[in-house]
Amino acid sequence: MLYVALALFSILFIYPFLIQIATSFKTDPDAAAHPLSLVPNPFDLHAWKQIFGQGAGSVPFMRWLSNSVVIATVVTVGRVFLDSLAGYALSRLRFRGRGFVFAALLAVMSVPSVALLIPKFLMVNYLGIYDTYAAMILPLIVDGAGVFIMKQFFDSVPVSIEEAARMDGASIFRTFWSVVLPMARPALITLTILSFQGSWNEFSHFLVVTRGTPEHMTLVTGLASLVSGQLGTGTQYPLKLGAALLTTIPVAVIFFALQRHFIRGANEGGVKG
């Protein structure tokens, strides 16, 4: 009974992905005629050739892919560094106004992202960086939830070791960088994963701070425009599903390699949604 229920749910959760993979190797007519089949007949690489820039009607996927990689990497590195810096200060350093800064952080974290689309656009416009990589990266490079996770982690680390380092004359930054940060590895890995996944999957932010030309598209915004925007023509399900698969693969690889940390992240930073 238990296994019947589990098997049923597993099919429900896995089958769509299998269909997705199979369909990306189908021809358009085959995709429409046999939507449930997991065997492409005939086996066809046309969609993937288009994705990799060959054949008629190709789409600049490689450009989008490199945009995605660059942006997700820069955002992740920036977030991990800046979030832990701020988290450390809020947890360990005594400075005037710390309580206020922390309270403000909590307040800012509770602002729903839907209320931020127009505000972000206004500021990006005001700063004159609309439709640039700066506009895509800078607003994402610090996130409140990440700071919070790091602060919580540092709170749980015993203080004596860094005090010892300080007694030996290490500077505050040096103590942070070479003593405390290495201890925070579990939290850093979690934050890295959350940041990469979050910025890789980001959609609405890029939608409002760029013009929507292929130049600044990422895989996700590119896919959206292919599916429902100006680039969409016809059904082209093999192409669309292949593109969606390409968008999913990096996150999937990281997920299967580092599940433990994903699960940690879900329970620690269950803020984003």
């Binding site: 749910f9 959760f13 769509p16 992905f17 269909i19 997705q20 369909t23 429409a32 046999h34 939507p35 979030d83 810096l85 701020a86 809020l90 350093l93 005594r94 400075f95 800064v101 403000a104 952080l105 974290m109 509770s110 602002v111 729903p112 839907v114 209320a115 931020l116 127009i118 972000k120 206004l122 005001y126 800078l138 607003p139 610090v142 939830a145 700071v147 004596s160 070791i161 005090e163 007694m167 003593v179 290495p182 999957n201 609405s204 939608l207 409002v208 959206a224 599916v227 429902s228 669309k240 599903l241 593109a243 969606a244 968008t247 999937a252 997920f255 699960i263 329970n267 269950g270 949604g273």
Partner: protein, 378 residues
Amino acid sequence: MTQLGTANQAVGTEAMTPTAQPPRGRRGGGGIRSGEGIAGWVFVSPMIVILGLFMVIPIVMALWVSLTNWNGSVNPFSGGPGAEFVGVRNYSDLFARDGLTRSNFMQSIGNTFWYVLFVVPLQTLLALGLALLVNNRMLKAKGFFRTAFYFPSVTSSIAISTVFLFLFSATGAVNALLGAIGAGQPNWFTDDRGLVHLLFNAVGVDNPGWAQGEVLGRSLWDWVSGPSVALSVIIILVVWTTSGTFMLMFIAALQDLPVEIDEAAALDGTSGWQKLRHVTIPMIRPTLFLVITLGLIGTWQVFDQIYVMGKGNPNGTTLTPAYLSYQQSFGNFKYGSGAAMAFVVFAIIVVLTRIQRWVLTDKDERRPLLRRSKAVAR
């Protein structure tokens, strides 16, 4: 200081000597805490600059814009044509004045009301059900099932929406399946009929007299339509993708329950269902409330899926306030009106969360508030 042992192993720096344990310094000047005031501000300054620049200040700017009729072509703070101050008119247009803006907005609110009413209970129940299944002590291959159920939650909402567009297309997998069992095959994304209306129609009721009254510019009959068939696909999609995350939260809560309670319940001869109802659920109540709260916050913000799967079509039945706000601003260049909508959604979310917390603290004051949710914004 009890964890010192493990921490030592983790670090292993040469700086650790048993003597290096000074009293928590508060000697002022010169101590090991010297310079922390400056360093603290230096460390938090990138965060303050970024969050201030891209969240705090722009929200104030947007509040101002929501009081203007800014059209995007001039400086929004200059006043004059294209950016005139109009007071609360953008807000009153949403609630009090007849017109397209109000009817669209009210329809989006109605849609979202049904959407929330379906998604939040369904995702909570599914997540709890999956967690109970996966948490069974006898179960083998727990990891596999947990992975399978959680995986959709980590992937891109746009990519998943693309897959569902195919699955639910006229010639898609779902219709193939329905055809195989001889059921009807709806044209999912173009079907604007509401589920409650369909139910009424099934018993022969269609737009009856009692449903003609107008509430906020919309007939009662429209308000009770239920989610349209098209919106139902999005409901299924969202329940399917989010239940994995919430399942993990429930698993964490279930694993925190002391084993003795299980045993005591078993000795008392309670059935599985009784145990669930009288023992397990009351004990994971904080998590249950957390999941519902996060669900409420998330559902009112649905945007990505709408953008890809409906854009309000068919007939406005997949409009949500978040999408409408975007559409009004970046499609119709009525930023003031769009910003006003965004703030109304913001207010709704804040109010819902407050109510949630109030319900939680009122009945169960002794329990620490949302114990497992330390890392969650409130």
